[in-house]
Amino acid sequence: MNTSDSVKEYAMGNFPITPTASATQNACKLCAPLGASLVFKGIRGAVPLLHGSQGCSTYIRRYLISHYKEPVDIACSNFGEQTAVFGGAVNLKLALENICRQYDPALIGIATTCLSETIGDDVPMFIKQYLAGQPEGTVPPIVHASTPSYQGSHMEGFHRAVLATVRTLATQAGGIKQNQVNLFPGMLSPADLRHSKEMVVAFGLEPMVLPDYSQTLDGGLWESYHRIPDGGTPVATIAQAGTAAASIELGHTLALANETAALLLAERFGMRAARLGFPMGIRHTDALLQTLSEISGRPVPAIYREQRGRLLDTLVDGHKHVNNIRAAVYGEEDLVAGLVGYLSEIGIHPVVCGSGGQSHHLAEVLEALVPESWRKELTVLDGADFAAIEAAVEKAKPDLIIGHSKGYAMSRRLSIPLVRVGFPIHDRMGGPRLLHIGYEGAMALFDRIANALIEQRQDGSEVGYTYM
């Protein structure tokens, strides 16, 4: 058999996928240490350190590199059999020393793994012991997030790392700076992070964004070698989070969580915690800009009125392509919620919403976002895998699927076009540059959705019109 013939046979074909009660098949989530590593990559000069087996850091690096296409150095304390028996103190200390020697980091972010958590390593105590043995001022700050992968998904790891960073570093009180604002954006793309910072700056405010991996994970080429990529929020800026006028935290389900960075700062320093959904689509972008206007005391800058105008113009021009289209949406809960909010504004009915996340808030959040008359045809699956999502999609027969690369197999099997959003984008260029938020993000998303539908009609037409 020659290769090209064989490759032709290489297709998932009609391979049937059967959901099962006990096993997770093709997970729609990743493990908690991945989310924490991503957060630490958003701090200037930081090196993430996973306390566990070598494979954890290597697998996570490979997964992140395949999406971001940037160096992602994540250290590991590299457990061996002895470590698992006697505890990870020695390895953690050695790892901290070696990271300092090799990287001269501004911060080390430790995320635990299922292994170190299960054997009961007392990481806060190990850190204390390590710091006690070092001359003051010679070691960088160390943040520790507890992220066993048997508790929640990568999003729990992400939010825990944000919270742990703020809890550890943001201790400076006093002297509120009216033009300073903390932004906890959630797991957005580098392009989104850049756009969100521009929005804040446009109001004359200075943002402390955590995490900000907009440059570390989407940077330019290097003129000389960088041990740690440029960019990220400086430790000193995070330390002053307590002096901000307010905190803004993005994500519909995060807004219902009991313990978050914005709540901690509110409690510690008495500052306002504005908890909003992802600023996707018209209303939620309006809400973010309105909040920024309140905090800054300035009106919404003309540039955003112009962008909003162009967005509305676009939506009117293309409304017939999308109205009453039915879509399946999957991914992180807050991304799904953000997308659904927008889709509801343009007439796209979400009929299946799936996530591997388990905040237990997804259904209630979506209920509030979807018009009442559409709700009966909406299936919400949280804590779900792709077997469950695919079964629901197959039954609902939507016109469109919206989600990350891992839904491609489903899209292919069901012959339903996939519009790629979020993370990971492992099968296309440009994942980190995808813009989802703001009026600009809404416009970009609209074009991609409408064009996917137009393309399908065009390709499926016998005539092959060049004018649609």
């Binding site: 996928i17 006990s22 954890c56 590199i65 250290a75 590299n78 698992a84 090799q102 299922c114």
Partner: protein
């Protein structure tokens, strides 16, 4: 560039040929905090068993290990596609406290009922032993009830290195070998071990051997089938590729079934031809095999040489850095690159042993940096110092090359292009050519500076 430090404990794992007496440390656990490019025991087992397409691969543990190995390799299958699914017991906190055996049993039974696999492999991840699950007992019960082999793979991530994972996988495979019918197997017959059918490579290689008149009983594990593995003991020779992944199995088969094994590499014309001639020599009692092999090699080489020569004209004198998993692949790549007029200036592997590095030293030109279990900083430092034009590695090495404006060729299991065999050499040369000759490098700041 010398500002990139090398950790003291790692100095003995790096050697520049010709600079000092050769003394390299290797074959040891990675250094904590070093950012090794290696994975873990689980990864080793997963690499070996993954391509068995009609088996169920159930990862017992929390979700990460299964999620990160979902459909990540270009290991093709001619029919069954079950290996491309990701199955996990997705252990939650309550199972970590009370044990995961019940969930494992239920998951196994449900999945076997749903997919009707020919066998099941159950991979233990880090915490499984620690929470005290008796995976072997659950496998025995499921096997009894479902009447298929259900094999535990002892692949707890921290229990050694990737090589120990290879061994755990071979232990599981060895339980299958010897359980099938071998009656129709000819005396001139082989198993191809350590070939994973990335981009269809196993098909190319099997076809060469078959054209020599050699029966290929099984490929372990590329386009693998449980039935073929069960009768692998009927072959009279094992041909083992890859530094160590499946030597364990070859050793066990030699001991129990008396099947000898030879080593092979299918990368580059030189090593590919040698792999065929070595098998022909083993079966030299067959009067036609040598002649058939010569004819095959001649035809194949003639088919690719003209284009290789054309490509070489643009590649002559370029420098390459090679860092891959196994050392045997490094040997082959050095030879293959020489055929393209290129010189290897940095050569390293994740899992090489003392013999491998001695061979490597002999194979490399003076001034080549040899690395064992390197990290991104070391690789970057030597890519810069040795002014490489090309980096050959896997996805984790790619950004090192690109940030510095160096071409890159993916030679890991994620690739989708066959690089083995004579035809594969052509793909390899084209890929190297495509990356090295791109006009984008002229705009790269790092390159234009040096």
């Amino acid at each position: 560039m010398s500002s990139i430090p090398i950790l003291k404990q790692r100095e003995k794992q790096i050697h520049e040929t010709g600079s000092a007496p050769f003394e390299m440390t290797c074959d040891k656990q990675s250094l904590a905090g070093s950012v090794s490019q290696r994975a873990c025991v689980f990864c080793g087992s997963r690499v070996v068993l993954y391509p068995i397409a009609d088996a169920l691969h159930l990862v017992h543990g929390p979700i990460g290990c299964a999620a990160y190995t979902w459909d990540i390799r270009g290991a093709l299958s001619s029919e069954a596609q079950l290996h491309r699914m990701s199955f996990s017991t997705d252990l939650q906190e309550k199972e970590v406290i009370f044990g995961g055996e019940k969930k494992l049993y239920r998951a196994l039974v449900e999945l076997i009922d749903a997919y009707n696999p020919k066998a099941a492999f159950v991979y233990s991840t880090c915490i499984v032993g620690i929470i005290g699950d008796d995976v072997a007992a659950v496998c025995r019960r499921a096997s009894r009830e479902k009447a298929i082999p259900v094999l535990p793979v002892h692949s707890e991530g921290f229990k050694g290195t990737k090589k120990d994972g290879y061994k755990a996988a071979c232990d599981a495979l060895f339980q299958l070998v010897g359980t099938g019918d071998t009656r129709d197997i000819a005396p001139v017959s082989i198993n191809i071990l350590g070939e994973f059918n990335i981009g269809g490579e196993a098909w190319l290689i099997r076809d060469y051997y078959q054209r020599m008149g050699v029966q290929v009983v099984s490929v372990l594990t590329g386009d693998g089938r449980v039935e073929d593995i069960r009768r692998a003991h009927g072959a009279t020779l094992n041909v083992v590729q890859c530094s160590g992944a499946m030597t364990f199995l070859a050793e066990m088969m030699k001991e129990k079934y008396g099947i000898p094994y030879i080593r092979a590499s299918y990368f580059g014309i030189e090593d590919m031809a040698k792999a065929l001639y070595d098998v022909a020599a083993h079966f030299s009692s067959d009067p036609f095999i040598q002649q058939k092999t010569e004819k095959l090699v001649r035809e194949q080489v003639n088919a690719v040489l003209p284009e290789l020569r054309r490509l070489r004209a643009d590649l002559e004198g370029k420098r390459a850095a090679v860092y891959v998993g196994g050392a045997f692949k490094v040997f082959s790549l050095i030879k293959a690159l020489r055929q393209l007029g290129m010189r290897v200036v940095v050569a390293g592997s994740q899992t090489g042993n003392a013999d491998d590095y001695a061979t490597l030293r002999d194979l490399c030109d003076t001034g080549t940096v040899i690395l064992d279990d390197a990290n991104p900083l070391e690789l970057s430092r030597f890519v810069i110092e040795k002014k490489a034009d090309l980096f050959i590695g896997g996805v984790k090495e790619r950004p090192i090359a690109y940030k510095l404006g160096v071409g890159f060729c993916d030679h890991n299991h994620e690739r989708k292009t066959p690089l083995a065999g004579f035809e594969g050499m052509l793909h390899f040369a084209r890929e190297v050519h495509t990356t090295v000759t791109s006009p984008v490098w002229q705009f790269v700041p790092f390159r234009s500076k040096t």
